[in-house]
Amino acid sequence: MRAVAVKDILPAERVMPASDPCAAISLRDVSFSFFSRRDFALKNINLDIFRGEFVIITGPSGCGKSTLAAAMAGFMPQGIQGDLQGEITINGRSTRAGDLSSLAVQASLCQQDPEAQICTLRVSDEVAFGPENLELPAREVVSRVKEALLATNSLHLKDRSIFDLSGGEKQKVAIASMLAMQSEIIILDEPTSNLDPESAQEVLSAVEGLREKKITVVVIEHRFDRLLKIADRLIVMEAGRVAMDGNPTEVYERYRESQGCGISRKPAPGHRIKSAKGEDEIIYVRDLQYSYNGHKVLGGISFSARKGELIGIIGPNGSGKTTFLNCLAGLCRPSSGVIRVDGINVTESRVSEMARSIGFVFQNPNHQIFENTVLAEVTFACKNLKISKERSERFARIAMEEHGIIQYAQDSPLMLSYGEKRRLNICATLPHNPGIILLDEPFIGQDISNTERIMEDLVRLKDAGKTLLIVSHDMDRIFRDCDRIVFFQSGSILVDETPSKAIDAIRNLGAYHFLPDIYLLSS
């Protein structure tokens, strides 16, 4: 293991030595800007990744991690169009010289979204795709497919259709398809960001397995606690620069301090808001059943929530969490059962009628941005609900002020960062003053500080008397800030308790992946 001292932000004028001959990847004075942008996504990066190293790269959203990953995989200047300054070498060869196919066998990049990077319809076809493109003999392709699937512990998926795989399985297939290229370097860009804790653990086990194969591994992650013990280096990026680089434990502590995350991770004692007469009960669900294509998704759910409750909904992917939120909003019509929200019988109401009572924040911020300006986006629901322009703009401005996006009022929402878009989504649920806000995975793709900021906003909304239901895989935050934890599995609620009691209940079920990190480690 090569020891690298922690260093401060590299000054621009610092003269770097020539590429280290031992370096698998070497970047010298690398700056890069996309043709569509004036600012630089990478600024004067000097970095060596050595052969056989296991390196973690982290940093806030939009700091250039994914751009750096593409640079290290050899996609600049040939694959990604933009202005590249400086020199990138992979195993001693400049990325300006070789063609993409020769670079493809040197370094492989596995991207964040497994859904979008899979181009075939069967697992074996997907893993064979790279070797087939290299015109390798069929026997060699077969052997590589088997080897790559074994390395990611997914040989059993070989003949499965891509459409039948879970998110974790898709990500493992994506990693296997890169391994089949037999590159000496593999770069993984946020491989677990879209996965539930159980699937994330599966993928991380596969990533840990790569360590034993003695290949150079670079992992870009927001949540990398589990990988710290096997990593050689931790690199922190900030605004397109390498801000910290060195021993993982030391850099991790400094990074957490810089992000203001030295906070207690203990779960909140929580409380179930009780009302003897039930007059504060804003959500009432009894024996809710929902089936899709003959498959039972929700089987007899009973649930209630009161005004001012912040409820965390957790559970594996496909356990019915999102469907449950959709049923509450009237977006899915249940097979049977009663749903009453804010006094309205949901099963007999139009979705647009529910809009007055419910604000819904969907998983992908881009799926719910419709207007040309941020202000118009925030007042979108008010316009549809025929609330006067004056009133809606007044409340929209208050909401935008509180969520820190007022300065973008007349800008296009598409110009906002990922974190700002998420805050815009939340903001857009507020001006028409619904009593309930449903949030489906609001923290996906957000860095630590953005996540904290969003959570603070949600706690403030709760304090203002709103009822919030959050579906999330971020156990630390859910257990820390929610009043109640609802654990879904196979379409049923198995646990509905305050955070401290939920920990014991979930532990008793053996679902350790759904505990906050400190409890997961002790379990």
Partner: protein, 266 residues
């Protein structure tokens, strides 16, 4: 009613996709070149028998669906109404125009209906018994440039994703009070505008990721590539391909030489 590939073990399923494609091509050409009611009727009976032999309930439902029967009936009626030549069998004088039913109109109507049914039911049998992925791979192995083949494969891969995203976008509009079915055409157009923007953004993002993923695995760097899947041609496959090619050549030759009399029976 949409017909799509149904997994199965029938004889038609086991045929090579390319041999089935040759049969579809040859038969479709012959259906349009041969104006013979007996040929069309026998052909149709054979196709219906084959469709039933596949043993798929979905395919049987498709055969007798309102879509197929309705369209066939419409073709028949339109042909009868708009063919004025031939012996007049029935005349219905109306205020604005006269309806004239002739023997030739009825014959043409039956012929066009049989043609339509032949083509659509043969197409249905082909789609229901042919794995589209296997078909694309067979075409690529047969010489279709693999870049085009993968264009089709990635489309098949992403269409269900975009359909799912469209549903989410539509839900996001509804839960923010946009009622498409209440505001007439203006609201509908507005909803389309609001739907296109998020989907285009998503498609651009996905295509960028996909391009990196494919290029990063050396896609398009060589003129040809290895194919792991092997195409098997049984005796039946070879016989069908030979017969189809022979039929196509003969039909075209007869056409060119004028031996095929393209006219309706009297």
């Amino acid at each position: 009613m949409i017909i799509k590939y149904i997994e199965g073990q029938s004889r038609l399923h086991s045929l090579n996709p390319l041999s089935k494609l040759w049969v579809v091509a040859a038969y479709s050409v012959s259906v349009f070149l041969i104006d013979n009611l007996a040929f069309q009727a026998i052909g149709l009976a054979a196709i219906v028998a084959a469709d039933c032999a596949i043993g798929s309930k979905k395919l049987r439902l498709f055969l007798f669906s309102r879509f197929v029967l309705g369209l066939a009936g419409s073709i028949l009626i339109l042909q009868v109404l708009f063919t004025s030549s031939g012996h007049l069998l029935l005349a219905v004088p109306l205020h604005w125009f006269h309806i004239a039913v002739t023997d030739l109109g009825i014959l043409k109507g039956i012929l066009m209906t049989l043609r339509f049914l032949n083509v659509i039911l043969l197409g249905g049998a082909f789609v229901a018994t042919t794995d589209p992925v296997a078909l694309v791979y067979s075409l690529m192995k047969a010489g279709v440039p693999y870049r085009y083949g993968f264009m089709v494969l990635t489309m098949m891969r992403f269409i269900p994703l975009f359909e799912a995203e469209r549903t989410i976008v539509s839900d996001a509009q509804k839960i923010r009070g946009l009622e498409v079915d209440k505001g007439g055409i203006r609201k509908l157009l507005l909803s389309i505008r609001y739907t296109i923007l998020p989907l285009v953004i998503s498609a651009l993002g996905k295509s960028e990721i996909l391009a990196l993923s494919m290029e990063g695995r050396a896609f398009g760097c060589r003129r040809t590539r290895t194919f792991l899947t092997t195409d098997r041609y049984s005796f039946a496959d070879r016989a069908l391909i030979t017969a189809s090619i022979a039929a196509l050549v003969l039909l075209l030759a007869f056409c060119i030489l004028g031996w095929l009399r393209l006219r309706l029976p009297n």
